[in-house]
Amino acid sequence: MFKQLFVLLTLLVVGLTAHAQLPNVALSDLQGRAVATDTLHHGGRPLVIAFFATWCKPCLRELDAIAQVYDDWQQTTGVRLVAVSIDEAQHAQAVPAFVEAQGWPFEVLLDPDSAFRRAMGVQQVPHTFVVDPRGRIVHTHTGYVDGGEDDLYQHLLDIPSSVQQ
């Protein structure tokens, strides 16, 4: 039974890791407006979804590092980055004030019930996804090592220009 399970898992992992679509979950932006996650990739641009929490220092380091080069990334790839906060309950209400004082140039959405987090299979943060303009998840990684944003940029450049609009 374990041999069968191992073979099955191998098939699934090798065949399926880079091809997936976004689930449909209702989040809210920092003003409280509803945002449907299955429409995030609309607009014909590559999309980066970065799950974070205000208490997660590696998350903040990663997003700060991306913030410093975000303008360049947008000019080169047209990328849209959406940072999704998994802070819960009373800490979720502190996120808008926290983000305002961070000075980030990208969007931030709130997932206080962790519904989107569970739907995306995120267990630990930071956890980042790259989605191509067709809505396929083409890359994902967990954790952040200083300089890792350069790898993320390379994955954006690897998205074929015929796919980008």
Binding site: A20, G32, A89, V99, E100, A101, G103, G121, H141
Partner: protein, 560 residues
């Protein structure tokens, strides 16, 4: 098993080399945290005969346009130190199937949900805390029209490796008023949500001792069954609005009579009010918040203790600790009788190329938290009584926790970033940890990060927790080297001069820790060897005591 295996293989094969996004997706992850403990006479740690302790999880999920499904296996037969004994075991406690149509969904199996910001219901999984209080049953989510969300659910709650005998029923009606009636409410976000939770729990064979006098006036005591309500309900209302640049949210919750082990089997009702107001504009923000909570611990089992069978969650107002030594004295929400919590925050982002922002931009933040017990009569009460009595709604009792934090962050040079923080703390250790007295302390912390090259980074931390109370001063230092965007190597040490030993004396003790980690898009492996101090692991107002440990640790995750 063979037909199922073959079917799943067939489902996997067509996804090779697909150019279009398929209509379904498999995902999952494996996580294991492992400890090889070693004997260490410098620390007081639990005796353990096992050579290997580990917590291991396997999660598998399937998603498609109309159906999702998944399961999670857990192996905790020899769990890591500090986890509750009831967590020992293994099995598949999480399994679900979800049927979707548009934005509506019906879930059968185990599920998670949060109502009234957690005051009425908050089921979640937190592996670091050893918490999984999922409900198992049915959950219905409907979006009948734009701006209206309906939820209804029923189930039994997971309580370690068993399921509660109680049935839990809950629901919520959530209205986006600006979308339903923009003429009346304008176009700025304004939402109203009403939720309810009810538990139906079989009675327990509980008795109480009642003192009285006989007809001759002689004192007597008799044992009587404790009257218990079979059904306990709670109601919550949330109102949230944004009127730029202001945001406000109010959560109010009420709970019926719920005699339980938590509240000494009293018949007092519970209620909680939480208000948060913030202003954000132009890189500046401030926020104030207040919460009063009284007897709002809500469990699906009235005799449960520890972390088991909790239906709701009252998160602490204190922010999660940002530094290693700021977790020495954490705050956990005081449910019985309750608490008053006040919080204020302010932050400012100084833009690059400005007088205060320098070349690259800088940030300044200020936090202040003040938490007090309720002012109540009757510090002790009898089973079956009305319990305590708050002298007034606004009355506050003894101080539990006060702190003020000031932090700065800025990239001072092209390749150097500095973070510095100061915290003043006044902590009621006797109430919050059950021993000691007041701890007043100052925390100084500084972190420097150097970008030596695009693939080489160096990070250093230094912290000093200065106090003359409890165990006295603590020091912490860390040096971390990141290489090739994949590797991390670090060496850290904490030191205290008065660490208690098994023989009752104290001794100066170092807590050195060597660590190496490798990060790949799908894999993350961390190895650490050394000694860690006793401390508290806290999340959302709940804390778990983690004993001091010594040995080799491994943390591995694989996500796909």
């Amino acid at each position: 098993m063979r037909p199922l295996f073959a079917l799943l293989c067939l489902m996997a094969l067509p996804l090779w080399g697909q150019q279009k996004a398929p209509k379904y997706r498999f995902s999952g992850h494996v996580q294991t945290d492992l400890l090889l403990p070693q004997r260490d006479d410098r620390i007081v740690s639990p005796v353990n005969d096992e050579k290997v302790l580990h917590n291991t999880y396997l999660q598998l999920d399937f998603q498609s346009q109309y159906v999702d499904a998944g399961l999670r296996g857990e192996w905790l037969r020899t769990p890591l130190p500090g986890y509750e004994a009831e967590l020992k075991g293994r099995g598949i406690p999480h399994y679900y199937a979800r049927f979707k149509y548009g934005r509506s969904a019906l879930t059968l199996g185990t599920y998670y949900e949060s109502l009234t910001n957690g005051l009425l219901l908050h089921t979640f999984e937190d592996r670091a805390m050893g918490i999984d209080n999922a409900l198992r049953g049915a959950h219905l989510l409907l979006h009948p029209t734009e701006g209206v969300t309906l939820k209804a659910m029923v189930g039994q709650q997971r309580n370690y490796w068993a399921w509660s005998d109680a049935w839990v029923y809950a629901g919520e009606v959530s209205l986006g008023l600006e979308r339903l009636a923009p003429r009346w409410f304008g176009r700025q976000p304004l939402s109203l949500a009403v939720a309810w939770t009810t538990k139906d729990e079989p009675l327990d064979p509980l008795s109480r001792i009642v003192s009285s006098t006989d007809p001759q006036g002689r004192p007597r005591t008799e044992v009587q069954p404790l009257r218990q309500p079979r059904r306990v309900g709670a109601l919550g209302v949330s109102l949230a609005t944004t009127q730029r640049p202001w945001q406000a949210r109010l959560d109010v919750a009420f709970k019926g009579q719920d005699p339980s082990l938590d509240n000494g089997y009293s018949f007092s009702r519970g209620h909680s009010q939480r208000l948060s107001v913030s202003h954000t504009q132009g890189g500046r923000s401030f926020r104030i918040a207040a919460q009063r909570a009284e007897n709002m611990r809500f469990r699906s089992e009235r005799t449960a203790v520890g972390l088991g069978a909790t239906l709701n969650q009252l998160p602490t107002f204190t922010p999660p600790p940002a530094y290693a030594l700021s977790s020495l004295y954490p705050y956990a929400t005081q449910h019985i009788p309750g608490e008053w919590a006040l919080n204020a925050e302010a932050g400012v982002y100084f833009k690059p190329k400005t007088r205060w922002g320098g070349t690259y931009g800088r940030r300044l933040r200020l936090h202040a938290n003040h938490i007090r017990a309720l002012d109540v009569r009757h510090a002790r009460w009898a089973m079956g009584s009305d319990g305590w009595e708050a002298r007034s709604y606004w009355g506050m009792g003894e101080q539990l926790y006060t702190d003020v934090q000031l932090s700065f962050e800025g990239r001072l040079r092209r390749h150097f970033t500095l973070q510095a923080a100061y915290q003043w703390l006044d902590y009621n250790q006797l109430v919050l940890q059950g021993h000691g007295s007041r701890v007043r302390a100052h925390l100084f912390a500084a972190e420097g990060r150097w970008r030596i090259s695009p693939k080489t980074h160096l990070r250093t931390e230094a912290q000093w927790f200065a106090t003359n109370d409890d165990q006295g001063h603590w020091l912490h230092g860390l040096v971390e080297l990141s290489l090739a965007r994949r590797w991390n190597f670090s060496i850290a040490n904490q030191f205290n001069a008065h660490v208690p030993k098994a023989d009752g004396t104290t001794a100066p003790t170092h807590y050195p820790l060597l660590s190496a980690s490798y990060t790949h898009p799908h894999h993350r492996l961390t190895l650490a060897y050394g000694r860690t101090r006793e401390g508290y692991n806290c999340t959302g107002g709940i804390c778990r005591l983690v004993p001091a440990q010594s040995g080799l640790r491994l943390h591995y995750t694989f996500s796909f």
